[in-house]
Point group: C2
Chain length 243, copies 2
């Protein structure tokens, strides 16, 4: 039996047609593993493969597997990683930091990430593996879209960009004073925010931000983290061209 330090963590991810990982929640964990210096190997699944892969136990990724431990949900995984690897750099340096990051996630998910989903949901469909698209369309149109088609739901999406850009204002204000949400160094709040930009940048057929958005240097700094973990020529433009 190998001891725990030799075991490599397996990370189950969601793959697009081009092989790119495309879940903002998986990206949180990719960054978290890099933050802790934990090597991992990825197993890429399509949308339809996830429930069957885990025999119904997990319906979403990320899922990590390490020895007999298998778990889903990005927050559960993040807290587990700090408990299981206390000798590695902490994701949460104190209970108060963890609570504050939880709050930031509440704000970000409600006020920003939902707006991104609204704008890019058809792009996710179009970027998925062809065999995943009918499943993706049917499940989303029946559920979140309440019977509307993906095309109808996103027809006015350009008119929704200004509200998304406006919702990012608290990030801009903070990042005018600090290089990262976590201050001098990135923390899990940064991975939450960066994960969303990377996910959107993996599928976006409409750039999210104006070319001179003050968030741009921050996003680029985030893409550079951990030897450019998230840098990928397959990413689509996040910023409008021109000046």
């Amino acid at each position: 039996m190998a001891d725990q330090t030799e075991r490599k963590i397996r990370l189950y991810e969601l793959a697009l047609e081009n092989g790119r990982s495309a879940s903002p929640f998986v990206w949180r964990i990719r960054y978290a593993l890099a933050h802790k210096g934990l090597p991992f190997e990825s197993e890429y699944l399509g949308f339809r493969e996830i429930p069957s892969k885990f025999a119904g136990r997990f319906k979403t990724v990320p899922v990590i597997e390490c020895g007999a431990t298998m778990m889903a949900e990005s927050w559960d995984i993040a807290e587990y990683l700090d408990q299981a690897y206390p000798d590695r750099p902490a994701l949460f340096t104190s209970p108060a930091e963890l609570a504050m990051v939880r709050f930031t996630d509440q704000w970000f998910t409600a006020e920003v990430l939902r707006k991104m989903f609204r704008i890019y949901i058809l792009d996710v469909h179009d970027a998925a593996h062809p065999q995943d698209r009918p499943y993706f369309r049917e499940s989303r149109e029946k559920g979140f879209l309440r019977g509307r088609s993906l095309e109808d739901f996103t027809a006015d999406r350009l008119s929704r960009l200004p509200a998304l850009r406006e919702a990012l204002a608290p990030l801009r204000a903070h990042l005018a004073k600090f290089p990262f949400l976590g201050g001098a160094h990135p923390n899990f709040a940064d991975y939450i925010v960066l994960g969303a930009f990377i996910w959107a940048g993996s599928v976006a057929t409409v750039p999210m931000l104006q070319s001179d958005d003050s968030l741009r240097p921050y996003i680029e700094r985030g893409l550079d983290l951990y030897d450019g973990l998230a840098r990928d020529p397959r990413m689509k433009p996040l910023y409008e061209s021109g000046c």
Copy 2:
């Protein structure tokens, strides 16, 4: 000469006609001093007295004075208190917590506190010392209100309550899981939020929240902190009556 441990901090506050302290920023520091177990004595100033009191050096409160040290700005004061009293309970347990609270403040000030000011600015005027009211009116109407009267600016304020209540959604989501923003224990993010409710509750002639708002137990828990530091029979209703 008394040594530092014997010196009592003097806190300059803004007083309403009823003697109540009425600045969300002063309340942050009242809580911060209580958090650190530092006794203080208050000196109450009216709006007009602040610039002359400090010979133009400070134009806003809170101002703290301790020996030869005198400083304004609630954030500067909070960080100073942790440096000057490292043996007392920390306001910020790590640089990352501080950065996260800074971010929470950016969000709260932009998305919530501004909406509160918009609704309660005439109530502040009416609750101020009579001799402060002409100054308050003139400075606000010339500045922030760009020539509009306080009455005109707040005429539609009831129609603005729903947007304020909606803006509090991330707090409700977080506080469904944790007793405080800081987690199991209150931190400076709580003092920022509670200070705003206490300030508004000192002047409000229209209750801010519905009677069954899920934030109510949190606010009451906050008022109970530090032996009921913020409890005061002069506070006006924060919640609508009835069920």
